[in-house]
């Protein structure tokens, strides 16, 4: 049994919840390393080796939805961390708060519960935040509102029957619109018509890692919406019991599918589903066809909702990084202009929804939009970034600050005719999903003028369209000092950009 499996089997991290108050009051000196670095993640609490003593909390925001009141609470939490506090919008439509002390945790967990939030099982070998259409319920193009489905799935997974000790992390997503690209998830439900009835085709096995990257494949099953929660539980239960725990490098779901064969895997999951009381008596086989036909929309800017007279306004959060001032301001804007609801997108941006159309112009003129523009440039709008080496020991470059500086410089130099999806990640673990970018950038080291310097590998050609493909390596290591020039040439030669006349 691996060291991690040994630690996980010793006790469940959820049991620490009742001790948080005591640990905060009396000190946590006695916590062993495994408890500090593994078990606390079951409560969404992350010990960060790069900032010892300053912890991170990762929430769960099903479908990326939260209210102004909830955001205001989180803003206060970040604010009290002073210069150490920040929050990142993640690529799973989630928020993670940085700079917290362990003394903050007991009151934070109680406060989260009071406002209907949780950070439970958001890290380590758990089912992660469930993503869906960020425009669910307001989208003129949507096939189905993913919010209630995702809420129901989360309720089952966090309920008494849910998994507590998976072999590895597990990503679940539900698509609801023609642009719901979700094939990077272990389990994705894509909207699909079967004999005229709207349901979901099941896709399994997608994941990115340092060793291997796979897009999800059709399981060959079609489900009705009401079947998703129990079926998800069945997939997780089966994975919990049968997944490979001998090596953490070969333990994601795809390896289990390959070990059993797709047909064998499907049969085994269906058996588990039936044992849980699931009914699949009729018409479940499916060819995997679905209604997702194009890459995700740029959510920034003003767009009409399906509700007459209302619109959403998407604001670009550069690289997904928030501070408390911005969080307070966003909560105010959501209350003042919308219905008090906000959404986070997988592109690390924020939407203020249910805004009366006649008020949208005023919202787009608010001072906060100077920082978080509603009409960002074509690179900034589609820039996604991992945390970077300020907080992550694995990252080889300061991803967010580098990305922002390079993107801003390129947008000054170039006229770019359309948005270009650019994904930045600090290391091969690929948290910034570089293989999904039209341009992917991965932190590396390179030698320049006899010195070892920070650099990136460049990947090209990722597509999230109807015919998805992963980006391929284009350039092994470009020193950061040369990166803007190299990308400028690439954008001109391959993406139709033209150089602006040099200003005098």
């Amino acid at each position: 049994m691996t060291k991690v499996e040994l630690a996980k089997s010793s006790f469940c991290g959820l049991d620490l919840a009742s001790r948080l108050d005591e640990l905060g009051r009396t000190g946590w000196e006695t916590l062993d390393e495994a408890t500090l670095t593994i078990h606390l993640k079951w409560l969404g609490i992350f010990f960060r080796p790069v900032t010892p003593g300053r912890f991170m909390v990762r929430l769960r925001l099903p479908n990326g939805v939260l209210t102004a009141d909830q955001l205001e609470l989180l803003a206060e939490v970040v604010d009290r961390c002073g210069e150490h506090g920040s929050a990142d919008v993640t690529t799973r439509q989630n928020l993670q708060l940085r700079g917290l002390l362990l003394e903050d945790m007991a009151p934070l967990m109680a406060a989260l519960e009071r406002v209907g939030l949780t950070s439970r099982q958001s890290g380590h070998d758990n089912p992660r935040n469930i993503t869906g259409n960020p425009l669910a319920g307001i989208d003129p193009e949507e096939w189905v509102d993913t919010r209630p489905l995702i809420e129901a799935i989360q309720a089952v997974l966090l309920g008494p029957e849910g998994p507590r000790n998976l072999p590895r992390k597990f990503n679940v997503a539900v698509g609801g619109a023609p642009d719901s690209f979700l094939l990077h998830n272990d389990l994705a439900y894509l909207p699909s018509l079967r004999e005229g009835e709207l349901g979901f085709t099941v896709m399994v096995g997608g994941f990115f890692s340092a060793q291997r990257n796979e897009l999800a494949i059709p399981l060959g099953l079609w489900l009705r919406a009401e079947q998703l929660p129990l079926f998800t539980l069945a997939v997780l239960r089966h994975y919990e019991h049968c997944g490979d725990r001998s090596s953490r490098q070969r333990s994601r779901l795809m390896y289990l599918i390959e070990a059993l064969g797709l047909d064998g895997y499907r049969d085994a999951v269906l058996e588990t589903y039936r044992s849980l009381g699931g009914d699949l008596a009729e018409g479940i086989p499916h060819d995997g066809s679905h209604l997702v036909t194009r890459a995700p929309r740029d959510v920034c800017g003003q767009h009409p909702q399906k509700q007459p007279g209302l619109c959403w306004v998407g604001l670009n959060i550069p690289m997904g990084r928030l501070d408390s001032t911005a969080m307070f301001a966003l909560a105010d804007l959501a209350r003042d202009y919308g219905s008090g609801e906000l959404r986070f997108s997988e592109s690390q941006n924020v939407l203020i929804v249910n805004v009366p159309i006649e008020r949208a112009a005023a919202l787009r003129a608010e001072p906060l939009t100077l920082r978080f523009p509603s009409a960002p440039g074509p690179l900034l709008a589609e820039a996604i970034s991992c945390t970077g080496n300020h907080y992550c020991g694995l990252a080889q470059i300061p991803t967010k600050s580098t990305a922002l500086a390079v993107v801003e410089a390129l947008e000054q130099r170039l006229e770019i005719p359309h948005p270009v999806r650019n994904h930045w990640t600090g290391c091969p673990n690929a948290c910034g999903q570089p293989y999904m970018g039209e341009i992917g950038l991965m932190g590396a080291k390179a030698r320049k003028d006899g010195q070892m310097v920070e650099a990136v590998k460049i990947f090209l050609g990722g597509s999230m369209s109807a015919e998805p493909q992963l980006a391929l390596l284009h350039n092994k290591a470009v020193p950061l000092s040369d990166l803007t020039d190299v990308l400028e040439t690439l954008l001109v030669e391959r993406f139709g950009a033209s150089r602006r006349p040099a200003s005098e």
């Binding site: 010892p52 009290r80 002073g82 340092a210 091969p428 590396a444 650099a455 290591a477």
Partner: protein, 436 residues
């Protein structure tokens, strides 16, 4: 494109580590990280002998497996290296161990044999706080409070924050209260944030609110206070006939409610309405505004608390007369009244039993003023006043039969109930404002 996996025949030895910039280096280091337990000695030796550079990617992998001894060696190596990287201490310094704390303390020492130049010391102070040894509090406290480079003071305060629950609470409170009024707003802001995490934080922040603060710090303090909402209070007084509560006490409650931003209800023991008419919150603090531990305090208040607990959470506070702060301010009032050498008497309602007697004896000791029971008849009261040249302080919070009876004898000013005396009004109001 996935990264290549570690080469077959992988040897977890320093000599095999691919050079920085090599495509093989990342998967190789990942494979090294999976060697658990990793034999650290060859790596430490290679670093110490200069055969390997302490590159951040290598340290990130080693850091996961460092024990105290290895951490010590890396920190010593870093201290010896004139071209040290500022990122190393944080990358390797998360292990908590007494020997590491001792090394950090030694590195912070001044003198000709100092291990480290002063400019580098701020990097070590958060790590010292992370060690959470109570004995290191004084070092961090001194460096945070003493005049010095701002970065050093900020780092010392960060060290205090990282060890928050490990330090002696009273000294920590005093230190943070001082830092919160520092002229540098960054330092003051961080101190306010740390104070907000301590037990009784609300009380501390309200006390701090009365100090002169930088505008940005004052705003921060208000934000912290908003996150520490006050509980509703129920002030219980004796009251006059039919539950009438004197305007003086009503105005106290109104001002208190304004300051606390939370409901403050008043209830008189003489109120004929049933207790069920009182609006009940989910939780409240019941404050007996009584000055003596008579039957009301010993019996009636317990009954009220018990009845209210059927409807929510109730915290019953000690009666006001037992608060040391009240006793001190009363003593100051006695001193002020007796400034010409004539010691005033504290005139109280008649009480029976050993507990009130002990309390009155205590009050006499604390204030230096003899406590006398109020005579039953006006004539006896007038005689008593005459015997003490009118120096009688009625031990009653608001207007009552006792103070009313004294007015024709010693005048309205001298017979003023305690709340009508500004120092006592201020003390009671502030003390109640600071309640959680």
């Amino acid at each position: 494109m996935p990264a290549p996996s570690a080469p077959s025949g992988f040897l977890p030895e320093p000599a095999s580590l691919p050079a920085p910039g090599s495509a093989e280096r990342w998967p190789w280091l990942q494979a090294l990280g999976r060697q658990k337990p990793l034999r650290l000695e060859p790596w430490l030796r290679a670093l110490e002998h200069g055969e390997l550079e302490p590159q951040s990617d290598l340290l990130a992998v080693l850091a996961d497996q460092l024990d105290a001894d290895a951490t010590l060696r890396l920190l010593r190596l870093w201290m010896r290296n004139p071209e040290r990287s500022p990122s190393l201490p944080h990358r390797v310094g998360h292990v908590r161990d007494n020997a590491i704390a001792e090394l950090l303390i030694a590195a912070l020492a001044d003198g000709s044999d100092a291990l480290l130049e002063p400019a580098w010391r701020p990097l070590l102070l958060p790590l010292l706080g992370h060690q959470r040894r109570a004995g290191d509090f004084q070092v961090l406290r001194r460096l945070a409070l003493e005049p010095g480079p701002l970065q050093l003071r900020l780092s010392a305060l960060e060290g205090l924050s990282l060890g928050l629950s490990a330090w002696p609470l009273t000294e920590l409170r005093n230190t943070l209260m001082t830092l919160a009024t520092d002229l540098d707003p960054r330092l003051a802001a961080a101190a306010v944030d740390a104070l907000a995490r301590l037990p009784r934080a609300r009380s501390l922040l309200i006390q701090l609110r009365r100090s002169a603060l930088d505008a940005s710090v004052a705003e921060r303090l208000e934000r912290r206070l908003r996150a520490l909402p006050a509980h509703p209070l129920l002030l219980v007084v004796h009251g006059r006939a039919d539950g009438v509560i004197p305007p003086l006490i009503r105005s106290l409650a109104a001002e208190l409610e304004r300051r606390r931003g939370a409901p403050v209800a008043l209830r008189a023991l003489t109120d004929p309405e049933p207790l069920s008419s009182l609006p009940m919150r989910e939780s409240l603090a019941l404050v007996p505004l009584f000055l003596l531990p008579g039957g009301h305090v010993r019996h009636d208040l317990q009954g009220i608390a018990a009845e209210l607990r059927c409807r929510g959470s109730v915290r019953l506070l000690p009666f006001l007369g037992s608060w040391p702060l009240f006793q001190r301010v009363l003593a100051q009032e006695v001193e002020r009244e007796g400034a010409d050498g004539a010691v005033p008497r504290l005139l109280h309602h008649r009480v029976d039993g050993p507990l009130p007697e002990r309390y009155l004896a205590l009050l006499e000791r604390v204030t230096g003023a003899p406590c006398l029971p109020t005579p039953e008849s006006p004539a006896d009261l007038a005689q008593l006043a005459g015997a003490h040249r009118g120096r009688l302080i009625p031990l009653t919070l608001g207007p009552s039969r006792l103070s009313d009876a004294l007015i024709p004898i010693i005048g309205a000013d001298a017979a003023a109930p305690l709340l009508a005396r500004p120092p006592i009004w201020t003390m009671v109001l502030q003390a109640l404002e600071e309640l959680p």
